[in-house]
């Protein structure tokens, strides 16, 4: 909604008009007010049609393009100097031993070719000497070395009697050193300048195939629409994430926006458009292997997580908002294990499983293909049409059992009819349990701007259909009962025994409905929100969470969505009429954290706390009242009474360590990171690497591809030859307005099926002519993994690009189809591969290579 305040918007890695059509009304409002809209994309789409500038680009070269913007801004001295100096780490000094990719032909310092990993020692800040430490409590009384967050020898002892505040204060590091003139060659600013010096408009044209003039027009538009009076925004979606350089790619946009002063301000920012109704919620309240709800890292055998005390010491950051970690961790354990979770038994921390590596989707599917996974439960996901779909279908054939919760008979639920093996040889026992529709259950979802909306049940589900909530609740209760009765040889039963599942509905809640045993979503909502363990009253703020077991809270970031106001429990997630109060609308739903809609909004005021301009006024310091204010009603994303002129405090714990001009509370130095000395496995500054499968070599470095890309060298997942001749065409996959993801919620709907009935591939007339393919004819997309058959949609909206003097063709293929439903088609993902970003294990479905041939795949 904030996009309506932008003066320029760049859509890149997003086809917003098609994939988020209703959200697109806000950029259109900005356009009506005079904003310039720009679409940078391999294809001319319905988004391009609405934009003032369409800029073609070769799939997977976005870092070269955005790095080009960084270079253009720095070379022409167009960065927003006052913003950059105060709010970013531009002036911070980096270890003199740091070596850039420019000096190292595509590698940063610290690369270990044996382990294919970086040692980040030379990427660190230069700091003052850390304060003296007093010996830390441990049963042996010995002092342990190593900063917080870095692996140390385990500290012995339990959390009983531990004063976390003192312990965290004792671990304060030194203060980062800065050169505010930005002249020191070790400043982040100078490192950036050197790093991007070769990313010139000419180089952008050579790598990306983007005509130089179009690139410069984008750069000039962004510069002209940034600064005190104007703000520009970037909008992205999975067109940026699904790359082997996905995280770095988004970071490059972060660099551009920090340099232009567009973060934390109305109409600015980098907007992530997420694809599923509650994908934000399922990341926050994570059904992901590596994070517990509230972005707390899952205990890891490879980290110093041996006991609760060690886990907390490793995870707590003394100089950021994460200094409060002990309260969040203990409250979560209290929520999960209830009465018997006490300091005496470390709140049953030891019963939690620890991860032992990457257990994300792709590696688990590899394990499955090797027969190591016995059972799988699918809640609304459809791996049978997912990446390297043939591989995944064959892997599923190794399962002993499979449970599918869905509306329709999805491809995955009948994978056994479509794997390579004969069904009679597939020994998987399969259950299909019909699921309830959103209208048929209570619950909350978190949308793409972090706003939590609570929806109420409006109808009964048909037949045997039940909510997924009921499934997991029922399964949990049944398992508890089974283990309570005793299971010979079963280990670690304390967790199961103590797991709280007290969600039985109040009779009034189910009085109107057929099913009387539906668990209370509101009770779970309350557990996520957090409550006082003794009074059971909901907590209004995460500031109320304690590390002594007196509070319980499933996910600290959501605390406050349920509140106690004048003795009444108020559900702030409810969607109440009359709460549309403009673009912030603070009373419509509830945005985590603490109903802060615009993050880092302290940056909307200058270092002195005054609005950058009257036009872009948002959060500001009221000197008379000695407080930050926001007239739009947004939550202040800063310490409310911390004056702008507050100096940094070398002995301050948490955000008190930062000065009054440090808007980025979750960062250890409070600054926006142009240089990320930690948190990333593949480098502190984004660098252009070619996609894992590319028709051309890297023009910038000898190192062609991200050196620590996650690759899966297993049968059935062969990669196309890099820069070879067999697979010369670049292909990207995408979604259409008329369908959703793998189509399980759309291909069974006649109203939608008729709008986009069949799989097609968009291909330029030039390539079509070369391959003798007429519009509407069948063609085959071929890779080492397989073949997908589709209709040709010949259109000039696709164009050949000139890359380093040679023509490169690109084609595009939507991936909504499968062999079930009423709009059926080949599975696009038959041709994709398992290859992933090293930071987050997201695959590279947006840029790979293929060969196009005329004709059908199967007779």
């Amino acid at each position: 909604m904030d996009l309506q305040n932008s003066d320029a918007i760049v859509f890149m890695g997003s086809n917003m008009a098609e994939c988020h059509p209703v959200g697109f009304k806000w950029p259109m409002k900005a356009k009506a007010k005079g904003a310039t809209l720009i679409h940078v994309d391999p294809r001319f789409t319905r988004t391009s049609a609405m934009c003032d500038q369409y800029v073609p680009i070769r799939s997977g070269t976005d870092i070269a393009f955005l790095g080009g913007l960084v270079n253009y801004i720095l070379t022409n001295k167009k960065h927003f100097e006052e913003y950059v100096l105060s709010f970013s780490n531009a002036a911070t000094l980096i270890n003199a031993g740091f070596k850039d990719t420019e000096e190292n032909d595509g590698f940063f310092s610290g690369y270990n070719a044996q382990t294919r990993a970086y040692d980040r020692a030379t990427w660190q800040y230069q700091t003052s000497k850390a304060p003296e430490r007093v010996p830390e409590p441990s049963s042996t009384g010995e002092t342990k070395e190593g900063g917080v967050g870095t692996p140390t020898q385990p500290v012995a002892g339990s959390v009983k009697g531990v004063n976390f505040a003192a312990l965290v204060a004792n671990r304060l590091p030194g203060v980062p050193l800065q050169d505010k003139t930005l002249n020191d060659p070790n400043t982040v600013f100078q490192i950036l300048k050197r790093h991007y010096a070769r990313y010139t408009p000419e180089m952008v044209e050579k790598i990306c195939g983007t005509p130089k003039e179009l690139f410069i027009k984008v750069a000039d538009t962004l510069i002209a629409n940034s600064g005190r009076d104007k703000t520009s925004a970037f909008v992205y979606a999975v067109g940026w994430t699904q790359h082997t350089t996905g995280v770095q790619l988004i970071r490059t946009a972060g660099l551009v926006q920090l340099l232009l002063g567009n973060i934390g301000r109305p109409g600015g920012g980098i907007m992530a458009l997420r694809g599923h109704a509650s994908i934000q919620g399922s990341t926050d309240i994570a059904s992901l292997y590596n994070i517990h709800p509230g972005y707390l890292n899952v205990p890891d055998a490879a980290k110093t997580h041996d006991t609760l005390l060690n886990y907390i010491l490793t995870e707590t950051q003394p100089t950021s908002f994460w200094s409060n970690t002990p309260a969040y961790v203990v409250s979560q354990l209290k929520a999960w294990f209830g009465d018997n979770a006490t300091a005496d038994n470390d709140y049953l921390y030891d019963t939690l499983p620890k991860i032992t590596g990457d257990h994300s989707h792709l590696p688990v599917m590899v394990e499955m293909s090797q027969g190591k996974i016995e059972g799988m439960i699918l809640t609304g996901q459809n791996p049978a049409t997912s990446l390297n779909a043939g591989f995944q279908r064959n892997a599923m054939a190794k399962l002993k059992w499979l449970v599918v919760l869905d509306f329709f008979e999805t491809e995955s639920s009948v994978f056994w009819k479509h794997a390579d093996a004969d069904p009679t040889d597939i020994k998987t026992e399969v259950f299909f349990l019909p699921a309830a529709h959103i209208a048929e259950k209570d619950g909350s979802m978190t949308q793409t701007q972090r706003t939590i909306q609570f929806h109420k049940k409006a109808a009964d589900p048909p037949g045997d259909a039940r909510s997924d909530l009921f499934f997991w609740y029922d399964l949990g209760l049944r398992l508890k009962k089974l283990y309570a009765a005793g299971r010979p040889g079963a280990k670690n039963l304390d967790g199961i025994k103590n797991m709280t599942l007290d969600y039985a509905p109040d009779p009034a809640d189910v009085a109107d409905w057929i099913h009387k045993d539906e668990p209370s979503a509101l009770k779970i909502f309350k557990e996520i929100n957090g409550y006082d363990y003794k009074t059971k009253n909901p907590l209004n703020s995460f500031a109320n969470l304690a590390s002594d077991g007196s509070t319980a809270c499933g996910a600290w970031i959501y605390t406050g969505m349920l509140q106690l106001v004048n003795g009444q429990v108020v559900n702030r997630g409810e969607m109440l009429p009359g709460k549309n109060d403009g673009w912030v609308s603070p009373n419509w739903g509830w945005a985590w954290p603490a109903n802060r809609h615009q993050l880092y909004n302290r940056a909307s005021a200058d270092p002195a706390g005054d609005p950058w301009s009257a036009k872009k006024k948002y959060t500001y310091w009221d000197a008379a009242a000695k407080t930050w204010k926001n007239d739009a009603g947004d939550g202040i994303d800063f310490t409310l009474t911390k004056a702008p002129a507050t100096p940094a405090n070398a002995t301050g714990v948490g955000v008190a360590f930062h000065d009054g001009a440090s808007p980025f509370l979750l960062k250890k130095d409070g600054k926006g990171w142009l240089f990320a000395y930690e948190g990333l496995s593949d480098g502190p500054i984004p660098t252009h690497y070619e996609p894992w499968e590319s028709p051309v070599k890297n023009l910038l470095y000898k190192q062609d591809r991200n050196p620590i890309t996650k690759i899966y060298d297993v049968p059935g997942n062969k990669y196309n030859e890099f820069a070879g001749t067999q697979f010369p065409t670049v292909i990207t996959t995408y979604r259409l307005t008329e369908h959703h993801l793998s189509g399980t919620m759309t291909r069974w709907l006649p109203w939608l099926a008729e709008l986009m009935p069949e799989l097609f591939v968009e291909i330029s007339p030039e390539l079509a002519k070369e391959k003798d393919i007429a519009n509407g004819e069948y063609l085959r997309v071929i890779t080492e993994r397989g073949t997908t058959e589709a209709r040709a949609l010949v259109t000039k909206r696709l164009r050949p690009l000139t890359v380093n003097g040679a023509i490169v063709h690109q084609v595009g293929m939507p991936w909504h189809w499968g062999y079930q439903g009423i709009a059926t088609g080949d599975v696009a993902n038959n041709v994709t591969s398992f290859v992933a970003d090293p930071n987050v294990s997201i695959h590279e479905g947006k840029a790979f290579t293929c060969r196009i041939e005329k004709g059908r795949a199967r007779a």
Binding site: C19, P21, V22, H276, S278, D284, M368, G380, A459, D464
Partner: protein, 201 residues
């Protein structure tokens, strides 16, 4: 939103979203049309006697507001109409084609409302019906068996890991926060760490 029974013209007007130029609801109310004239038309048939509930579109993450009208007959409440919620500041009443089809996602002859079961090596679903209790009893047993059979208490270095390696819970991005919370909680308490959703894919 509390559920309201749509009985009055005033409440019909709530459904009037954007896309009306220069017409205040009050003005329309003052036009003096005879409601009886509308007798044969769907609006009255459809919405009278229904209850209206604010909900959300289940497709992408924009989070558009919907209004669901449902009717109760013989103790069962079924959906009659779903359209945009003009009160939502996010969507101000609009929907995309998928959102506009949310009704057909629920009310659809192809939607499965029976439990299906396939035996190992079978070429089709069982023909005999399975109750939810039968299915859940069997699933609980399979889950526990796989949990115990693949349970690793300590890793090679003797570190306590309490991990069950043989079960994979996949999905969640189409689910409510509360459902995700239970996916994360129930599985982890059982030692399962292979928990993933569409945010990765």
């Amino acid at each position: 939103m509390a559920m309201d029974t749509v009985t009055s013209r005033r409440q019909f007007l709530k459904l009037t979203g954007i896309g009306t130029a220069g017409i205040a609801a009050a003005e329309l109310g003052g036009l003096g049309f005879d409601l009886a004239f509308a007798g044969q038309r769907a609006a009255r048939r459809k919405l009278e006697g229904t209850k209206q509930t604010a909900s959300i579109c289940p497709y992408c993450a924009v989070g558009c507001g919907t209004l669901i009208n449902a009717k109760t007959e013989n103790g069962r409440t079924t959906i009659v109409n779903i359209e945009g919620n003009p009160d939502s500041p996010i969507s101000t009443g609009s929907l995309c084609p998928k959102g506009a089809a949310t009704f057909q996602l629920a009310v659809n002859p192809l939607r499965k409302d029976k439990i299906l079961h396939r035996k190992a090596g079978a070429t089709d679903w069982d023909t005999e019906p399975m109750t939810r209790d039968q299915a859940m009893t069997r699933i609980t047993q399979l889950y526990a068996d796989s949990r115990d059979a693949t349970f690793v208490e300590k890793d090679a270095n003797g570190k306590l890991i309490n991990q069950s390696t043989g079960i994979f819970a996949l999905g969640g991005a189409t689910n409510d926060n509360e459902e995700n919370y239970l996916i994360a909680k129930v599985n982890r308490m059982m030692g399962v760490v292979r928990i993933e959703n569409q945010a990765r894919i």
